[in-house]
Amino acid sequence: MAKYILKRLLMMLPVILGISFLLFSIMNLTPGDPARLRLGEFATQEDVEKLREEMGLNENFFIRYINYLKDAVRGDFGNSYNTNLPVMKDILARFPVTLRLSFNGICLAVLIGIPVGIISAVKQYTIVDTTSLILALLLAAMPVFWLGLILILVFSLKLDLLPSNGIDTWIHYILPSLTLSATSIATLIRMTRSTMLEVIRQDYIRTAKAKGANERRIVFKHALRNALLPVVTVIGINFGVLLGGAVVVESVFGIPGLGTLMINAVKMKDTPTVMASIMFAAMLAGVVNLAVDILYTYIDPRVKTQYL
């Protein structure tokens, strides 16, 4: 097992390198001179040239890339073009916030989406099924930021029940987490329902019935175990989408996380911050994906026997 984990981590390495190269290349396309940006319009060309030398901007592309990597490995992602403070500092402060938010989001999605999907499948063709399908359709069609605004409108502004800004207490996390989980809830309802329906039609369910098992046993002991396997995989893949949503949700609720850092950095053309925040987001998505894959090898006997 440890070997498998190690192998997967090693496989992630080229991908991370690839991402860094990709981002570096993309950022390199940015029009405008960072040194000029820093010093402002009125600085002399001399000063700008001096700063360019200092910042190492005149070097060859690949050399600059290697330098970047060398620093990054040591934890130095450069200084923000805005504040001139180390980017890492901001990232370390904000990363846990985004982590907490996304984690909440995915947990809510699993706790709500999967049971609803199961019930929907077991009670196919009834009103419960139709309702959850319509719910899933609507949630999937809603922009995540719109849902956030509506929730703020109702619970914050009109009813004054929940806060709409910041992250001071755990209550502050309620609305944002709920908003974030919405799209994933929709996906999980549909996915769980469809795998359950498929599993229920399998031959081994017929065998279980022929043994004299009742519905409860069939659903929980036989169907569920098999249906959840593909669902687990989907959760891992879906996390990336969730993370993208987190960026927007942070903006809606004024949450000081990685997302708002990223957005502001883009608007201010603060390249080092943009690069670092995107890389961290990508790495987070990658790690979660890996974790889910590892979890999967534990729960699917067909894979388990290969690695354990």
Binding site: Q202, D203, Y204, R206, T207, A208, K209, A210, K211, G212, A213, N214, K221, H222, R225, N226, L229, D300, P301, R302, T305
Partner: protein, 321 residues
């Protein structure tokens, strides 16, 4: 004290979808005695599986309907039995095994757990230990090593999986076993082994069996009685001797036997039965074999034939007799 175990009387089963109504079983009569093995023979679409599923009350919920008839297990009419009571019967008094062993087992449970489940469901007063021992016993009975009981289905071959399926079916020593083409999906050599094992078990446990198959060779090896089914009804029934060696037969039966190539004779062409079984959504008025029967007479077109007893044990449903 009668020997009768299961008696089906005048069974009618239909399947109804948005597009069509399929008349799958049309007036079926069948009797199985204790400890007896009945071979239910017929081509695909004859209604054999539907019959078995009707006995088990495992027909698909929304689309199927038992329109008429009785299925008597001893005194109980299974058709009238409530679902909660039926579950007590399934696995304990009547068991069923299905055609494809590859997909009949739950991939996420060990085979030991799956065999033990039947015991959990029906032998309530067994302790966990006792169940464990019994599982070992059963595995031995079907020729599988007991130390593999914590392995998963995907770690077994097709033939071994089928043994597990049989083990599950016989764990509670049922009175009747319904076997729906249990060896069709297996290699010929494995087929022989599994049949042999089934024969031994059947004798040992005195279980009655309805063996559904289209393979007359398999029937010859293991069955006491044979019932030939066509378009949802039994058209000929008798002992093994009656059917394989008797002189009088339903024209369909003659066709079936005639279509088997004889290893001893040199022939240039095979002898299939001409035509296809009638469309089950649109069955003809008279004898359903009418349009393919080389010996049909006028009355066959308009009137349904009834059971004619040839002797004590042999029955043929045809106007010719």
């Amino acid at each position: 004290m009668t020997d009768k175990l299961l008696e089906i009387k005048d069974l009618y089963v239909t399947y109804e979808t948005d597009d069509a109504k399929v008349y799958a079983v049309n007036g079926l009569d069948l009797t199985v005695n204790k400890g007896e093995t009945l071979g239910l023979v017929g081509e695909t679409g004859a209604g054999k599986t539907t019959t078995a599923l009707s006995i088990m009350k495992l027909l698909p919920d929304r689309v199927s309907k038992i329109n008429n008839g009785q299925i008597l297990l001893g005194d109980i009419d299974l058709i009238k039995v409530k679902e909660t009571d039926m579950r007590l019967i399934r696995g304990e008094r009547i068991s069923m095994i299905f055609q494809d062993p590859m997909s009949s087992l739950n991939p996420t449970l060990t085979i030991g757990e799956q065999i033990e489940e039947v015991l959990e469901l029906h032998e309530k007063d067994m302790s966990k230990e006792q169940r464990g021992r019994r599982v070992d016993e059963i595995l031995k009975l079907v020729g599988l090593p007991a130390d593999r009981k914590n392995d998963f289905p995907h770690q077994f071959s097709g033939g071994m999986k089928q043994r597990v399926v049989i083990a599950i079916a016989l764990a509670c020593e049922p009175e009747l076993l319904l076997a729906d083409e249990p060896t069709t999906a297996l290699d010929v050599t494995i087929q022989a082994q599994v049949l042999q094992m089934m024969r031994e078990l059947k004798d040992k446990l005195n279980t009655a069996m309805i063996l559904i198959t289209h393979d007359l060779g398999v029937v010859a090896q293991i069955c006491d009685k044979v019932a030939i089914m066509y378009a949802g009804e039994i058209i000929e029934m008798g002992t093994l001797k009656n059917i394989y060696e008797g002189e009088k037969h339903h024209p369909y039966t003659i066709g079936l036997f005639g279509s088997i190539p004889d290893i001893h004779k040199a022939t240039k062409r095979l002898n299939p039965i001409v035509g296809m079984m009638s469309d089950p959504t649109n069955l003809p008025e008279g004898c359903k074999f009418y349009d393919r029967c080389p010996k049909c007479i006028d009355i066959c077109k308009t009137e349904k034939p009834i059971n004619k007893g040839i002797n004590d044990t042999h029955m043929i449903k045809c106007h010719l007799f």
